[in-house]
């Protein structure tokens, strides 16, 4: 029985190694924030992080992620207060909301590396994530808002650091 490290916890799943990670997360671990959209890596609804990289969990097999650090929307922050989640609320991004876990996880992998992205970098990074409600402009705004907050927080953190 494969053991997965998800959101900082070690959990064994009753699934064959060739089971898509998506279904192990949703059914075995009953964490349903990660969504099934296309099963082909074309829409991004199932995006999670593996060792900090955004991956499509429908295209990632359970056997390939043993021992790696997996993060889902449920584990992105302790209280749903990651700067992106706060920005998503501030900009009132979601309509149906179904794609938004994937959008947030995809965006989080960008901001983890680049907290000052240009609009072009945001579009290039997010273009694989479909939103059928077409909330794209609010997604962009929310990412920029979160980036600003992260830079401000990090600048404040630097100020406080003893020299």
């Amino acid at each position: 029985m494969p053991t997965l490290t998800i959101n900082g916890r070690s959990m064994s799943v009753d699934a064959a190694n060739d089971t898509p990670l998506l279904w192990a997360i949703r059914e075995q671990l009953q964490m349903t924030g990660t969504k099934f959209g296309c099963g082909a890596g074309l829409c991004g609804a199932c995006t999670v992080h593996v060792n900090g990289e955004a991956v499509r969990s429908c295209q990632t097999m359970v056997g390939d992620v043993a021992g790696k650090k997996i993060t889902t929307i449920e584990g992105l922050s302790a209280k749903g207060d990651h700067p992106l989640q706060k920005a998503w609320i501030a900009e009132q991004v979601p309509q149906c909301g179904y794609c938004q876990s994937g959008q947030i996880m995809q965006a989080a992998s960008l901001l983890a590396k680049n907290s000052n992205p240009t609009k072009e970098e945001v579009v290039a990074h997010m273009d694989g994530n479909l939103c059928r409600c077409m909330t794209y402009s609010r997604i962009q705004k929310a990412i920029m808002r979160a980036a600003t907050e992260m830079r401000t927080a990090s600048a404040a953190g630097n100020d406080r650091r003893p020299t």
Partner: protein, 764 residues
């Protein structure tokens, strides 16, 4: 007798303390908690909830939970209903909660008398009922507070209600909603007539309506906790994956060989659907312990089919048939027949003729279709996000072979609707699989199932003839619309409309919009059913339905006439929107939105480089009786290769009264981008009876990188609230087509617009 069917009247003692309902206009006084078995017991055990209406309850902790009878598919309608109740009730917004209704008829739409969500109808049709429900609660709470404060009843006019408090400024006494409910003194009941007599706030008294309050559902959609149909987990539940035939409709299963599937771990059974509702044909469900195993088993099943009567049909066959039908004089039925079109065309100085087409389009909401079915005692429980609980419950019952009153529909958040979830096909495999294996079954469509078995927007063919007199005045318009009939397929007579020529009912959801607000003295619209398309591609209601194609034809033709008579297309529209006769009111509102969009876009004032152009369109979507007023100016650049870049969409819409300005903007922007996506990027095709596109590689809705600038102007002029979820879908394609013409001289008449078609239409 089970509790679902029985109407449970609360005991008399309870009645006086906690539960009276002030019914709605359509259903009258309703008592009891018949909707969900067990809920009556649960509520009976929990004392002191105050339920002034079926639409909400106030608990002793002061939280106000509004039950939304409409499907929430991202339009935040649950939050909107709460906002309307909150306005009249006088509650604090942070005390408001929402709950999604079961299919209990007491939650039926007060105007429609059923549970159906579509047509951009919800706000306009529920505004008054929710307002009265809120006001009734406020009156009851105020009187109870007056009694509790020891004030004589005639003091009640001195009480002020706000932020979930009842205050008496003179005596400085106050009482919270929570304390009033706890006191058990809120006992006032209302007859339907008393309810009707309540004086509602006037718009100048609003403190909630018109405010962009935080949507109640949004936080749960940022942390993974919002529960959609696909997220339902029941004890002992197993999973179903469906195997669908290569033919969209009409195939039958000849045999199923499950020998290879038997070696898939967890495989339980292959169930061949016996669908007496005729919603599906030739489907098999592979049931297994997990969805991954069910999919493996489904792939391992060897199913042989008889392809049936549609197995050779293609998009071209449907189009050829549409053209054949249009040419026949006795085809179809008249939806509009004003004046004498034949005579007017005969004496016209100039006659223009054009054919407009739209392709098959697929809804493809991000949450693939799914349903979970569980038989529990006599009751069939269905968990599924659904736009039409009244009909879907009946289809589920039909699939189970039971009376619809034994079906409980548990509504979930919808991972996109767009009209797709008006249909009930997903009920059938879930119900029959659950019945066959004796366990709860969750059936999930693969994206391939979802796309190839969509109840699609039908392929449409429209022929328009226009006659202008010697002064260039439009004197006659003949408009034939040939398509599958999506709403007739439901088999509900109430959704059909009488034809003007009394040739039997027609499906107005194929021609709505063509009865526009332009003044044209001689005007015919013929609705022609394409029986071949109807059978081969069972069609559905795709966001905006008919106005998505009728305005493509009308608004393109209006531009063609303007070009042929040397007029500015915007000015030409304004001259046609003279408000004469039946068009009075609507025409002027539409004219004003057009002017607003023109002004905001800089139409006629902005100098554009060569190869760029602006085009206008204005629409009165959806139905004439539920019209709203939307105009668009599209700004495009056209390359010599025919490649079109949409640089900006400017949309102005007159919504009458805006409940939630930010949400209106979100809906209008999303709708406009849908319009763009349908105009430029989405096309499905039929070949050998099957839909050829199976996933988001072949069927390609708009992505972030394709998004132009979108400017939205919302006109709130105090008229009644209109719908906003759909109209902007319909205005964009013709605005783009007209802009392409102005930029390049190329007139395109087929959706989606391709570079090839634009280049082909350019004058050499």
């Amino acid at each position: 007798m089970n509790k679902h069917v029985k109407t449970i009247a609360p005991e008399t003692t309870d009645l006086s303390r906690r539960s009276f309902l002030v019914g709605t206009a359509a259903t009258g006084l309703v008592l009891g908690y018949a909707g969900v078995p067990g809920i009556g017991d649960a509520l009976a055990a929990a004392p002191a909830n105050f339920e002034p209406s079926v639409w909400y309850a106030i608990s002793p902790d002061g939280l106000v939970t509004v039950t939304c009878g409409k499907a929430d598919m991202g339009q935040h309608i649950a939050s909107t209903m709460a906002q309307i109740v909150c306005e009249e009730l006088g509650a604090k917004w942070s005390d408001m909660r929402v709950n999604l209704a079961s299919n209990d008829p007491k939650f039926n739409d007060p105007v429609l008398g059923a549970q159906i969500t579509g047509g951009s109808w919800s706000t306009m049709m529920n505004f008054e009922a929710m307002s009265r429900a809120g006001a009734a609660g406020r009156i009851a709470l105020t009187e109870a507070a007056a009694a509790a404060m020891g004030l004589p009843p005639y003091f009640k006019d001195e009480l002020v209600v706000r932020d979930s408090m009842v205050l008496h400024p003179k005596s400085k006494k106050q009482m919270s909603f929570a304390d009033i409910v706890k006191s058990g003194k809120a006992t006032k009941t209302f007859t339907p007539d008393e309810l009707k007599a309540i004086k509602l706030k006037s718009p100048d008294q609003y403190t909630m309506i018109g405010v962009s309050v935080p949507q109640i559902d949004i936080p749960s959609k940022t942390n993974g906790t919002a529960k959609y149909g696909i997220d339902v987990m029941l004890p002992g539940m197993v999973y179903g994956a469906i195997v669908t035939p290569p033919v969209r409709y009409g195939a039958t299963v000849k045999s199923v060989d499950d020998s290879a599937a038997k070696s898939v771990p967890g495989f339980i059974k292959a169930v061949i659907l016996d669908d007496k509702t005729q919603t599906t044909t030739g489907w098999v469900v592979a049931v297994a312990s997990t969805y991954a195993n069910a999919k493996k088993a489904a792939a391992a099943l060897k199913v042989s089919y008889d392809g049936g009567p549609n197995a050779k049909l293609s998009s071209q066959s449907l189009l050829d048939e549409a053209k054949r039908l249009q040419k026949l004089d006795d085809s179809g039925q008249f939806f509009v027949k004003d004046g004498d079109v034949g005579a007017a065309l005969g004496s016209a100085a100039k006659v223009l003729e054009a054919e407009y087409t739209t392709s098959i389009n697929i809804h493809a909401p991000m949450e693939p279709m799914n349903a979970t079915a569980e038989f529990k005692g006599d009751i069939l429980h269905i968990y599924s996000g659904n736009q039409f609980a009244t009909r879907s419950g009946a289809i589920a019952a039909g699939a189970a072979g039971i009376d619809p009153k034994f079906v409980v529909m548990h509504q979930m958040w919808l991972g996109g609707g767009f009209g797709r979830r008006l249909d009930a096909d997903m009920m059938v495999p879930a119900v029959q699989a659950a019945k066959a294996v004796g366990k709860p079954v969750k059936v999930i469509y693969t994206r391939e199932n979802d796309m190839t078995m969509d109840f699609s927007r039908p392929l449409t063919y429209q022929k328009v003839k226009a006659g202008v007199d010697g002064d260039g005045k439009l004197v006659a318009l003949s408009h034939d619309v040939v398509s599958a009939w999506p709403t007739q397929r439901w088999g509900i007579p109430d959704f059909l409309s009488p034809s003007v020529d009394k040739k039997g009912p027609l499906d107005a959801f194929t021609v709505n919009g063509s009865d526009f607000f332009y003044t044209v003295p001689n005007h015919n619209v013929r609705a022609i059913k394409n029986e071949m398309a109807h059978n081969a591609t069972p069609s559905g209601q795709l966001r905006s339905v008919a106005p998505g194609w009728t305005f493509w034809a009308v608004e393109s033709m209006i531009d063609e006439i303007a070009a042929a008579t040397g007029k500015d297309p915007a000015q030409f529209r304004i001259s046609l929107l003279d408000g004469a006769g039946k068009n009075d009111g609507g025409a002027q509102r539409l004219r004003n939105t057009l002017l607003a969009a023109m002004g905001l876009a800089g139409y006629g004032t902005k100098k554009l480089p060569k190869g760029e152009g602006m085009g206008v369109a204005c629409v009165s979507s959806q139905e004439r009786a539920t019209a709203s007023w939307t105009a668009c100016v599209a700004h495009v650049a056209v390359a010599p290769s025919g490649e079109v870049t949409v640089k900006k969409l400017t949309v102005a819409t007159d919504v009458g009264t805006q409940v939630h300005p930010d949400n209106i903007r979100a809906q209008v922007e999303g709708a406009a981008l849908w319009g763009l996506s349908l105009a430029m990027y989405e096309k499905a095709t039929l070949k050998d009876g099957g839909i050829e596109q199976t996933n988001f590689d072949g069927y390609t809705p708009l992505r972030m990188s394709q998004m132009p600038e979108v400017a939205v102007a919302v006109i709130a002029n105090g008229e009644k609230a209109t719908g906003v979820g759909e109209p902007a879908v319909t205005v964009v394609a013709p605005a783009i087509g007209n802009a392409i013409f102005n930029a390049s001289g190329a007139r395109v008449r087929a959706l989606p617009i391709t570079a090839e078609a634009v280049k082909g239409a350019m004058k050499a």
